[in-house]
Symmetry: D2
Subunit: 253 residues, 4 copies
């Protein structure tokens, strides 16, 4: 965890909120507003939170913004294809260089998530007011700190297996739905020097981002994916002559 406040950029495509009255009523400050609010609620001075949306120039994710972002959270659904490949590639470089990334719900189909994982990230779904129970498999994982086991979400969109992802490096949460399906709802992936956390609860059609336990998990994930060092370090090719490390070895006893 960095010693300075963690600089969080909450990204949202912000499309449903523009088009649908019901969504606007549910999230008057936008989905990004609700997510940002939740992070601040649980982490206070530990974080500095800003937001960015699709319609801003370069989607609000300029090189300058990313360079000053420790952790990026991502929500998208209706407009994945409108995100430019250039911005996706830029975000990927920052993640590989150490920036934390928290991908939420329908972000499973975002370009950035699919680019970082390499698979289709497809799944089973249903919008039918299922109850979701989010079960913790690793009670001592920092991302699960302080939440009940299970988290009960009264109404939710169903996401079910098969979720086409590489095996997660850590599987923190698995959800069940009242219709019977299961889903790997909390997954850790390490890519390059960056930490990625995928968390599936949350939808434009339900008030899930007002749920205190969901907010707490997202806030935990922000802290946990934050890099220890602010400077980016993208892994790169290195040519190393024979014996290149001998010199530094001489400095050791």
């Amino acid at each position: 965890m960095p010693s300075h406040p963690i600089r969080v950029t909450v990204w949202n495509e912000n499309v449903h909120e523009q088009r649908e009255e019901a969504v606007r009523a549910r999230y008057p400050d936008g989905i990004h507003g609700a997510i940002a609010q939740g992070i601040k609620e649980f982490r206070g001075d530990q974080v500095q939170v800003r937001t960015a949306t699709l319609d801003e120039p370069e989607h609000g994710l300029t090189e300058e913004v990313l360079a000053k972002t420790d952790v990026l959270t991502w929500w998208g659904h209706a407009a994945h294809e409108r995100v430019s490949d250039e911005v996706v590639s830029r975000v990927q470089q920052h993640v590989l260089g150490g920036m934390g990334l928290v991908v939420l719900h329908s972000g499973h189909f975002s370009k950035i998530f699919r680019t970082l994982l390499g698979t289709t990230c497809s799944l089973r779904w249903r919008g039918a007011d299922d109850r979701e129970l989010v079960w913790t498999l690793k009670p001592r994982h920092p991302v699960a700190e302080g939440v009940p086991n299970p988290i009960v979400i009264p109404e939710q969109e169903m996401y079910g297996e098969v979720f086409d992802i590489p095996d997660p490096d850590e599987l923190v949460f698995v959800s069940s739905f009242s219709g019977g399906e299961v889903f790997r709802s909390g997954c850790v992936f390490h890519r390059g020097n960056g930490r990625i956390f995928y968390f599936s609860p949350g939808d434009q059609g339900y008030p899930v981002y007002h749920h205190p336990d969901v907010r707490r998990v997202i806030a935990n994930a922000v802290v946990w994916t934050a890099p220890a060092q602010a400077a980016r370090d993208v892994p790169a090719l290195r040519q190393s002559p024979l014996g290149w490390f001998e010199e530094s070895a001489k400095e050791s006893p």
Copy 2:
């Protein structure tokens, strides 16, 4: 998969069957009889199946029997503590040397499973006629071949998380229960030169071992955990002088 028929030993403590009329009615040939029958049903000439039970001398698991066993399946519940430490240690050596092991249901608390995994293997449970749905996360895994996704088990004991096991090397199945719980119900572990598959469906109180899909998974697991080589090879300490591999290298071009 060995070219000869896979030699399977189906082990059962065989205690509930002796004590309880209802269990005897459900499993007239014992739980081991039902499991053995299922394996033969699905694999025919590909397998040679024998059974062994707690009350036999050395629990039927002498060195001679194990030396001729490619895959051992394990069912126990009421009498884990009556299994001798010597036999447990012997089985462990055979698994580390390459013998396949399929641990079933309440075998999660067997000495052999806990010894091989090192954790408590504890879990949440309830006997209340839950419906279990067994979901496949890896549709192309050989253990999942030919079964529907999900497998529907109308009545079952509930097993729920937190299941205290090391992270499985592969997570093939996750179950949900009508009461809402989830459980990692199909787990692969590699230990030494042996393959271990844990599969949770099955109980003395329900006719689960007569369920064709459950039988098929167990039969698949027997084939998949069978070693390619019959000879045991327990990893051992080796002292290797400088340059020990040069000689063999000379034989290569």
Copy 3:
């Protein structure tokens, strides 16, 4: 392993062989020729091997060719950027749908490998005639069958850590070099319904693809990554109404 012969397509950019006399002398049938020869040498009737190269229309990797390919092996180095994005995307879909992929040596920087893994796949390197020792960590893994531990490669390009890949699903080989570096030289990745094996030994500047143990590993990997079912099955989004699986359940007892 499919019952019919495994249909293997050995892909090579075939650029060094055109430009450099020394490479042509070392690999008179091209690097692809040597790789194909090695696979046939060890697997005979078990395989049907064809080759394809960069300069063919669509790089020889048309939809028709891929549809009839069980396993694709990939070698590239000087011309990664000349591989069209369309072909890369097509190959990715086939891998996610079940086609096996064996990526060799400098293929670590190929578009297809980076696309499937999501990371930079960068590493440390040196061309200075190091001896490479390829150590088996999993002696019973099918890919390591029949090779000595270690495999001794008298002269090789050095590849060293940090190798920027996601944690492999299985780490089969680790190499050391006479200059002191280490490298994860044999890595398994599961992506979608496909199996990927990366194997680092091999270079245009050394006769590594004539080395019998290297050939044997590649031949093993071809068999091991071959799908059990020839038909592709790319994971896809599914909308599932409440209770969708009840009907099939009725057919079970």
Copy 4:
């Protein structure tokens, strides 16, 4: 990381030091003294370090001592079999309940390590003054913080593969030796609620525990394996009636 100083118990069998003049000269305060000194050197007020040895009553690892230990480090070699099974079982319970465990060098063959991992933990070895290079595979892992890549250890006992352990949950370091062997020298295992780190450099026959980079890794590992909560929580069987979580759910919105 706990807010209070991390309470570290450095355990050593302390046998070679009693028997061999050369070891006593190398480690005048015992191997435990050198290890304890290194941890304090790098972590100062962040830690409270005590030591315990085999010859103390209950090997110095009473229930009372363990209850006040956040992280235990373990060094043994000549006297593994003299460690009582009761103490091993007690330590295992504390690890599963959350205590950190750092196992060093020849501790790979300790009863506690083998008990927690379930495998033989055997390996290849040679005492012939090899140079060891410790390569970092995960530069941002907290255990690798601040050390050069590679760490150069001028003279060391060789440990080589095959190291018979379960696949580590994270592989942080791999070593090469001047004789050519490789070894997974820095491995993370999660067991129960506890974190285990195995680090192989270090020997009674070489002054490795005076090496500043080795000391730094051990000090890092102590901090990283320390539990966030001091209270032990050993996973245990729970019987849960249908709907047991509904009540708590009512408290959530």
